[in-house]
């Protein structure tokens, strides 16, 4: 019996390391793309936590693995999500053949996707903030090639992602207190504010999105595109975990209004600022902000 977290978290992470230190540029795109595609197909075909009979052999992928007293769990329902994530990652990795950055991109990309997958599997789920931060740190070498001066966008990205983690971890602890005493309005407000700030940093919600156009101007559009696909996708899944776990958050009218307002503001400002740009990278950045605004709007 093998565990799902070993297949979809540990294996791609180790594969990324092997590609980084063991493979040449030419083979990297093919190897990384194939690994991601196989993982996607496996997630689609093999159900988690269900026994399959192959002749006389019984095959079962266990859903969880224990690590330092905590669990990493991938449920049967996560199969479709895993198939989509690794399928899209495979497209990004095969595409590096053309972009000419295959070696660094594929190896780091596999590690980033595996860490982000770990973020949706870890329990308690709020520890995902640390895993997202670790993935964000792995993005840095992807954005800044060796011996190239890092721009201000990269520095701001690192700062904002790092600032998000303490807010979310501490808000998670406070939310547990809110559950214990739901009538405490003060504590509820404090927990909600901390959580909101954490996600504002993570998802680059207005006015904390100024690193996106800077990054799009300074770095490879392919690497930035991958970043703007991967991080918001997993952050949104992480955020949905909060809404799923804390029912009062889901039903809060104020939270819903705030999220809708933030989403609309991002769509509008992203669109207006994009129309004022002359640099196509910055235009792409503001377009990504507007799209993130739509994503946030669907939350509300």
């Amino acid at each position: 019996m093998i565990s799902a977290p070993i297949i979809w978290i540990l294996f791609p992470f180790l594969s990324g390391l092997v590609i980084l230190f063991g493979l040449r540029e030419r083979m990297s795109a093919l190897a990384g793309g194939t690994i991601a595609a196989v993982l996607s197909l496996t997630a689609m075909v093999l159900p988690i936590d269900t026994a399959l009979l192959l002749g006389s052999i019984s095959l079962k992928i266990a859903s969880s693995v224990q690590f330092f007293g905590r669990s990493f769990v991938l449920h049967t329902a996560d199969g479709t999500l895993l198939a989509m994530i690794y399928g899209l990652a495979a497209l990004w990795f095969f595409g590096t053949e053309v972009s000419g950055t295959a070696h660094r991109f594929v190896s780091l990309g596999l590690m980033i996707v595996s860490l982000l997958t770990a973020s949706i599997a870890v329990e308690p789920f709020l520890f995902a903030a640390v895993l997202i931060e670790m993935a964000a740190m792995l993005v840095i070498p992807l954005l800044v090639p060796p011996l190239q001066k890092p721009g201000r966008g990269v520095i701001r990205f690192l700062i904002y992602q790092t600032l998000a983690m303490p807010f979310i971890l501490f808000s998670g602890w406070m939310l547990a207190g809110v559950e214990a005493s739901p009538g405490d309005i003060g504590l509820t407000m404090q927990a909600g504010t901390m959580l909101g700030l954490g996600f504002a940093f993570l998802l680059a919600i207005f006015p904390l999105y100024n690193w996106i156009p800077m990054l799009c101007e300074e770095t490879s559009p392919y690497a930035t595109g991958f970043l703007l696909w991967a991080l918001p996708t997993f952050t949104v899944i992480f955020g949905l975990g909060f809404l799923d776990r804390y029912g009062w958050l889901r039903t809060s009218a104020q939270l819903s209004t705030s999220i809708q307002f933030a989403g609309i503001f991002m769509v509008v400002t992203g669109g207006i600022f994009a129309s004022l740009q002359r640099h196509i990278g910055r235009m792409l950045g503001y377009a990504a902000i507007a799209e993130a605004g739509l994503l946030i709007l669907t939350w509300g």
Binding site: R70, I140, L147
Partner: protein
């Protein structure tokens, strides 16, 4: 009583790191911060976990120190440093952080009883000083110092409410990762600048 010394030590070390322009002094102050943080963390976590955090912190300092040592002196290092704007402004900001800490510590203790005034004061001081570092400059080295200082402050207060080994391990990995990413960015940053001879 010793915990109050740790909090005062944090104030002195973080202010020293803020106003001094020599990277060696700044890294020494960071190492001192980790030592004081270790003392405060031990109020709530077992000694072994606190010691692991201390060793990780000193590994971070060693990694950054070795990287910085391998880089030659560059002409615009001093220009980007906030030291050239005078030391009075960072000292005023450090004073503001100290005042805010003095005001906020009893309130936080009232909201979350049991943390300990010294632990809250030490944590707030480090988080505040870290944010000042981040706000004053975009120099890679100072940004890293700011992030590491801020994270140390957070770890002190979070250790009081969460004792999971996995979280402690992940936070240690985050610190080490920041040091490695910082070393990478420092090398990338300095390799793109003109090189001058060491003046000593």
């Amino acid at each position: 009583m010793l915990s109050w010394f740790a909090a005062i030590f944090i104030l002195l070390a973080s202010t020293g790191a803020l106003i001094n322009r020599d990277w060696r002094v700044q890294l020494g102050a960071l190492a001192a911060q980790y030592l004081a943080a270790f003392w405060l963390i031990n109020q709530h976590l077992p000694f072994a976990m606190g010691a692991a955090k201390l060793v990780t912190g000193w590994m971070v300092v060693a990694a950054l120190g070795m990287t910085r040592l391998s880089l030659a002196t560059h002409v615009d290092e001093k220009d980007e440093s906030f030291g050239t704007r005078g030391r009075s402004f960072p000292i005023v900001l450090a004073g503001v952080v100290a005042l805010v800490t003095a005001g906020a510590t009893p309130r936080i203790e009232a909201i979350i009883p049991g943390l300990g005034l010294q632990v809250i004061a030490g944590s707030l001081l480090l988080m505040g000083m870290g944010l000042i570092h981040l706000g004053l400059t975009s120099n890679v080295f100072h940004v890293l110092l700011g992030l590491l200082t801020m994270l140390t402050g957070f770890e002190i207060i979070y250790a009081a409410v969460e004792s999971s080994i996995l979280v402690a391990g992940l936070l240690a990995l985050t610190n080490l990762g920041l040091a490695l990413v910082g070393s990478y960015l420092l090398i990338a940053d300095y390799s793109s600048k003109p090189i001058f001879e060491e003046q000593q």
